[in-house]
């Protein structure tokens, strides 16, 4: 008698979260992986490099000034015999720190502002966005320059000034996303369950717009670092004895005629970092499918 075959459960295919999908897509993008790798390497070198190097930031060697790259100083030395490699590590710490912190400032202001405008809507939204429109039209570079000239060029002010410029685009993006998401059914469900507005906004809507936020944040970091370097190049950014890549490039440009390595190496490291950030940002945009990948 044929026994009834036991009903075996279909092997359930383990579900994959959209985040894992995005991670897989990102890993297939060779340029983005390369960018991420380089970025990690640069950051690690800047953090750990100074501990491993025999030279410290202040070490001067007056018998070894303006040395070309050699066995003793791999990337050469400057007018006081400072080791350029160590200077690049220290400058990188500042540049990366400025990039990250100003992005965090911009992100925080932008998300809160945009989320509130998009979620509340109506007159408040119109007024808040009109303010953003007006601020967009301001010649911000001029104001940042004025602020840095007048208020003693300290680094905290630098974060705030740059962050204050960069939050506008973030606010616009978040507002648009919130407006799209808030009409979806799961938000209605949350409302039907009696959750408060704050909880709906922060627990239900915001997690669903993380994709564009992450992509835009990644692309904000290089533009922030560019502003910092731009200001430092004009002598308005990071002040000695502190240093940043912008400061090193400025110093290098002044002496490039006889000592081109002082410009070449900081410029190359800075450009490489920006390259990597841009590649990573582009890769994330494709992986998280933020804009339809038509182009």
């Amino acid at each position: 008698m044929p026994s009834a075959t036991p009903v075996t459960a279909e092997p359930v295919e383990p579900g994959r979260s959209p985040w894992r999908d995005a991670g897989l897509r990102l890993r297939k993008n060779r340029l983005a992986v390369f960018g991420g790798g380089v970025l990690l390497l640069v950051a690690l070198a800047c953090v750990a490099g100074p501990w491993l190097s025999p030279y410290s930031y202040e070490d001067i060697a007056l018998d070894h000034t303006f040395s070309a790259p050699c066995a003793r100083n791999w990337l050469g030395t400057d007018q006081l015999g400072h080791d350029l490699l160590v200077r690049i590590f220290y400058g990188g710490r500042i540049s990366l720190a400025v990039g990250l912190s100003a992005t965090v400032v911009a992100l925080t202001i932008g998300i809160v502002y945009g989320a509130v405008a998009g979620f509340v809507g109506g007159v408040l939204d119109a007024a808040m966005m009109r303010i953003v429109d007006i601020l967009y039209a301001l010649p911000f570079t001029l104001f940042v320059i004025l602020l840095m000239v007048f208020f003693g060029r300290n680094i905290i002010l630098l974060f705030v000034a740059i962050g204050a410029v960069e939050w506008l685009t973030m606010a616009r993006i978040v507002r648009g996303q919130v407006m799209a998401v808030k009409r979806m059914e799961f938000v209605e469900a949350a409302r039907a369950l009696g959750f408060g507005r704050r909880r709906i906004l922060f627990r239900h809507i915001l997690p669903n717009i993380l994709g564009p936020v992450i992509v835009y944040a990644t692309l904000t970091v290089p533009s922030v670092m560019l502003i910092e370097a731009f200001l430092s190049f004009l002598g308005l950014g990071v002040q000695p004895p502190m240093s940043s890549w912008g400061v090193l490039i400025k110093d290098g440009a002044e002496k490039m005629e006889e000592f081109p390595w002082l410009l070449l190496f900081p410029g190359a490291v800075f450009s490489l970092t920006l390259f990597s950030l841009n590649f990573l940002g582009d890769g994330l945009r494709d992986a998280l499918d933020v804009r339809s990948s038509k182009d």
């Binding site: 301001l138 007048f150 841009n278």
Partner: protein
């Protein structure tokens, strides 16, 4: 359309007023003044100076008399260059910055549009990859790195150009190239994206099916729609080129508005700073408005509203 222009115009004027007011009071509340020089000026002279420039009057009086003069286009006397008005200084510096900006814009458009169109028409070939590589370089290598490197290579070593200055026609080449390259990159990206989108449309297929030549398809049928994203980027791009000239003017020692602005801020030359801010803001807003109008005019969906 007219209503659109009018509301944008009103908005710009309001923003301009806010800028003027904010800058005016910012300048008055910062530490230091135009006459706090290294060597102390005797009290009586200082008082005379302040009376001469109206600085001894209450702040609100200064503010309103400044606004009153401004309505007549008078930006007041410079505090640092005695006997010169801000109008004179700006009239001398602006043409230099404008010329640099125009050349750079020409470079950016020529290079960006060409690269973008080639990339779109030869999609996924080596030409496409080359164009995006150039775009990535323009996006990631800042002008204050490319600039000095170009000086090193083409001026100091090759000797083709002067390393700095703004005297001969050849002095325009390097600054414009360096400044333009940075904006060629986003323009080429936008052109590529816009063109690809249009080239996939049905009406392009129809045009091809009717036997239109490739040139006709590209220039007559695709270009207008494909360039829409570029046109909307032009406003911010020109703004960027104008303020980007700060660095370029420093590198190549060009006597333009950007360098003058930084110097005047250090000098606490209130009227010159304020005049420059007003000039820049007016320029930027005018350009943004023009870009918006151009975009609306090119896009029938907006135009017919």
């Amino acid at each position: 359309m007219l209503r659109f222009i009018r509301s944008r115009l009103l908005q710009s004027i309001f923003a301009l007023y806010i800028i003027i007011t904010a800058t005016f009071f910012l300048l008055r509340f910062v530490p230091g003044g135009p006459f706090t020089a290294e060597k102390a000026v005797p009290k009586e002279i200082l008082r005379n100076l302040e009376a001469h420039y109206g600085l001894n009057q209450p702040l609100y009086r200064q503010y309103f008399s400044y606004l009153g003069a401004l309505v007549h286009g008078d930006l007041g006397p410079s505090f640092k260059y005695s006997n010169r008005t801000v109008n004179e200084i700006l009239a001398e510096k602006l043409p230099v910055s404008l010329e640099l900006g125009l050349w750079s814009l020409a470079v950016a458009l020529l290079l960006g549009l060409t690269l973008g169109m080639i990339a779109a028409l030869r999609r996924n070939t080596w030409a496409d990859y080359l164009a995006s590589a150039v775009g990535m370089i323009g996006l990631s290598v800042p002008s204050f790195v490319i600039g000095p490197l170009c000086v090193l290579a083409f001026a100091i070593h090759a000797g083709w150009f002067n390393a700095s200055g703004w005297y001969f026609p050849t002095d325009r080449v390097l600054p414009s190239l360096v400044l333009g390259l940075a904006y060629a990159a986003p323009i080429s990206r936008l052109t590529r994206g816009g063109m690809l989108e249009v080239l996939n449309q049905d009406y392009i297929r129809t045009a091809r099916a009717k036997g239109a030549s490739e040139l006709r398809v590209v220039f007559k049928h695709s270009l207008r729609g494909g360039l829409l994203p570029v046109v909307s980027y032009l406003g911010p791009a020109i703004a960027g080129i104008l303020t980007g000239s700060f660095v370029i003017e420093t590198i190549f020692q060009i006597p333009g508005l950007g360098r003058e602005f930084v110097t005047s801020a250090f000098n606490r030359d209130y009227t010159l700073v304020l005049g420059t801010v007003i000039l820049y803001a007016t320029l930027l807003m005018g350009l943004n408005l023009a870009a918006d109008i151009a975009q609306a005019w090119m896009n029938p969906k907006v135009r017919l509203e």
